[in-house]
Symmetry: C2
Subunit: 491 residues, 2 copies
């Protein structure tokens, strides 16, 4: 070793350069291999990415027909360029983002174009010398004012691109107007090609394998809740493991190690959720979502899920502490704590499933109740426990874990409440219709009334009317799914 | 009241419409008042926003001279449009963002322009009929491939805009090339006007009241750490308040209520920090920051600060619990817990100050040590406490608070470590030179060696050389600040 390094030192910069040149093909090969691997992984993780790239290519090729095809070129001429420009800038991954950019661009171009023409005519009034000065002043004023509006949070979130295009178009129209005489003709050509570009984007984006921001948000929220559930399940199994049941413990820990880190992506999900919700509101009804789907409610659930994730991160700090300490105390609180973990986890899983399938989250309710019972059981155990020989120092971390778990259980209840609210707002279909709907059980009615989405019909005979609303949401009909129920109006 | 509503119901839609029209001026007034209020608040919160808007106006007006001024217009003609377009799109709030976009645009335009010309010549080889097909195929291929690279996280973060412009330019050049003969002349005109636009942006952005992303990141990190400190200070004062000292308690709680919510903005600071760091690396040296300032280290501190904020959020859950419960136990752990709080808070404040003033964070060290002593004291108290008459149920939340505080103290130590690392990497100036530097005290040397930024000169006489490096960073010279020390080379 020593000899080798000595030789290297003697060899000097020439040898180092030679080594570098020798390593070049290998380096290139490494880079290429890495690139292929990254590309493959990106494509496998979400095949829609590959599809998106092909869609961009398709839209661009379609729009470039404006140049290649003689009849179209004769019509639009060089303005076809604006169609290409629009496609490149407007085409986004999700339908919502594309629509948002396209509509922003359209509105901004129209209004700024009109204003620009107005400014042009106004400036003409000031004579040949005054015209450029007035134009320059107007451009300065409008650009400064519009740039400032981009700092207003609400405008930043939804119309940022529109304001940008507004400044751009106004400047272009009023400035070029100074040199070009046929300004209206120019504006007309540009507007129509921008329209063609925007329409191409929107059509390709909606009709060729569409990616809906709303659906992504819906899945993301469900997926995040599932991650929290997985953590709690893994934590309960590991931290409160039964020391006599070694096999189950080891098996659980192997499979759960990856799951236990999943919650970390929930901690920083705010921006993704907000931008998805912003795009979702531009999207037309699709699949199970109608136009006015309550996207805002997803953000509320997201906030609560993050709150829960913060608690879980605090819990995670105790995960690697000595699991053999204070065995006596740990054994005493094991049962209720483990139950709290598993019931909270089951509740979250049921909530995630309820969101995914868009069904009523009532199955989660029982788990939430069970977890609350577990809290009460824990309290009883804590009251009864004798501490005469106990080492408080060893007990404190375990007690803290139990206490944080209690807080997490409260978070889970909050998440349940807001998912329930979502199920009412978005009229999720009820899973428990068969068991609860009968004239003798008024609970089903109460549930519907509590949702507040429909006016109750309280005449004794019309119970079924209320249920109809819940079921027709998914285009089921009472007759097909519940043939034993009387048809509306027959009772 | 009843009569009124009855009248309204009878009045019908006409009256409602009339009411609406009557309310219109008032509504407009409200909107205007709100707008003025929002604008004023935005401007007051950060006056640089107003300045930025004026700068955008200035840059646009400068660039539109290409149209207004006859000699320039004769030179560039309609291509002046591209300068306007570039300014609108490239001008961003911070210098880093403007530079990043400008350089991205320049590189992408150049490379895609060259490639486009190449594609154009290649397509010519396939004859008149083959040319549009080959061009369309090339545009499809390149657009699809480039769109896909935008999903690669590293490219997404830094070169997203560049790839977009690459697709745009390549499509424009190869497509318009099909109809325009003097393609090189066109490319030349466009490139120079884009260059003028980009240069105008960069010059205005750097030389007129520059907003540096790096400085913003620097301040944001310090500010976030300060917020955590404020929370801990407020929490310690409130939760472990001395019941006999009522006045101090009330006073603290009044002033701190707002401060106690400040930490919440730290929870979601990840995206802001990352984008600022991304922009900062494009910026030239400015003020106290040189070109290769270790911006990545700020992100590391940010991660640790967020981790601490998550724990604080968990702590906050206990804040509103019964402050009178288990007084006996609370009194016992009051002293060490309060000390933990206040020392952690002081350490964080010292760290924030050290970042702000770019001085060595050694003053925080003693507070970190004190907080660790407080943990030991807490442990002793917990060991000694007798629990015979204690109600464990009431104790658990308080013990949890103490336990979470211990975790927070560990976080604070981690933050200290990474700020210390930053101070070495960025060569913060030492505050303790005067007291520690003397031939008898080798600690100052050790500190410098530990930082690893300079090679030690260990010959007994050359101690001062080491110190020089630390001091010259801020352009102090040994001679001016420590005239009693020998000049280098004199000893």
């Amino acid at each position: 070793m020593e000899i080798e390094s000595a030789t290297q030192e003697k060899a000097g910069p020439l040898a180092i350069a030679w080594d570098w040149v020798k390593a070049l093909p290998l380096n290139f090969k490494n880079i290429a291999v890495n690139l292929v691997r990254t590309t493959k992984k990106l494509g496998q993780d979400d095949p829609r990415r590959v599809m998106h790239s092909l869609k961009v290519g398709l839209a661009l090729t379609l729009v470039s027909l404006l140049y290649y095809w003689r009849p179209l070129y004769n019509g639009f001429g060089v303005s076809g360029m604006w169609a290409v420009l629009t496609v490149v800038v407007v085409f986004e991954f999700t339908v919502g983002a594309t629509l948002s950019k396209g509509l922003n661009r359209a509105c901004a171009t129209l209004s700024a174009g009109a204003l620009g023409c107005g400014a042009h005519h106004l400036a003409r009034l000031f004579g040949e010398k005054g015209e450029p000065i007035v134009l320059a002043f107007l451009v300065f004023l409008l650009a400064a004012a519009s740039s400032f509006t981009r700092f207003i949070p609400r405008i930043k979130a939804r119309y940022d691109y529109g304001v940008l295009i507004f400044i751009l178009t106004f400047s272009l129209v009023s400035v070029t107007g100074y040199r070009v005489d046929k300004i209206l003709e120019l504006a007309n050509e540009r507007l129509s090609t921008i329209g063609i570009g925007g329409a191409t984007c929107i059509i390709v984006s909606i009709f060729v394998c569409p990616v809906w921001a709303g659906e992504d948000l819906h899945k993301l929220i469900a997926f995040n809740i599932e991650k929290l559930a997985s953590y709690l399940e893994g934590f309960g199994g590991e931290y409160f493991a039964d020391p006599e049941d070694h096999e189950g413990n080891v098996m659980a820990s192997k499979g759960d190690k990856a799951l236990l880190q999943g919650y970390k992506s929930v901690l920083n999900s705010k921006n993704t959720e907000e931008s998805l919700a912003n795009f979702a509101r531009w999207e037309p009804g699709h699949g199970r979502f109608h136009f006015c789907h309550p996207w805002k409610q997803y953000l509320k659930i997201g906030v609560l899920a993050r709150q829960c994730a913060y608690r879980i991160d605090a819990l995670n700090g105790y995960f690697n502490s000595d699991l053999q300490a204070a065995m006596e105390f740990r054994n005493k609180i094991r049962k209720p704590s483990k139950k709290m973990c598993s019931e909270a986890s089951k509740a979250l899983k049921a909530l995630a499933l309820s969101i995914k399938t868009m069904t009523d989250p009532s199955t989660a309710k029982s788990h939430v109740e069970n977890s609350k019972t577990a809290i009460d059981e824990l309290k009883l155990v804590l009251k009864a426990v004798s501490l005469e020989n106990a080492d408080l120092l060893a007990i404190v971390p375990i007690a803290s874990v139990a206490s944080i778990l209690t807080e997490i259980t409260k978070c889970v209840e909050n998440i349940y409440e807001s998912v329930h609210e979502l199920s009412c707002l978005a009229e999720f279909k009820s899973t428990s219709v068969e068991s609860t709907v009968s004239p003798e059980k008024p609970q089903a009615q109460l549930l519907v009334l509590h949702c507040g989405s429909i006016k109750p019909v309280l005449d004794g005979d019309n119970d079924h009317v209320i249920i109809t609303v819940h079921v027709t949401n998914e285009e089921y009909s009472l007759q097909t799914e519940f043939p034993q129920l009387p048809k509306p109006g027959q009772s």
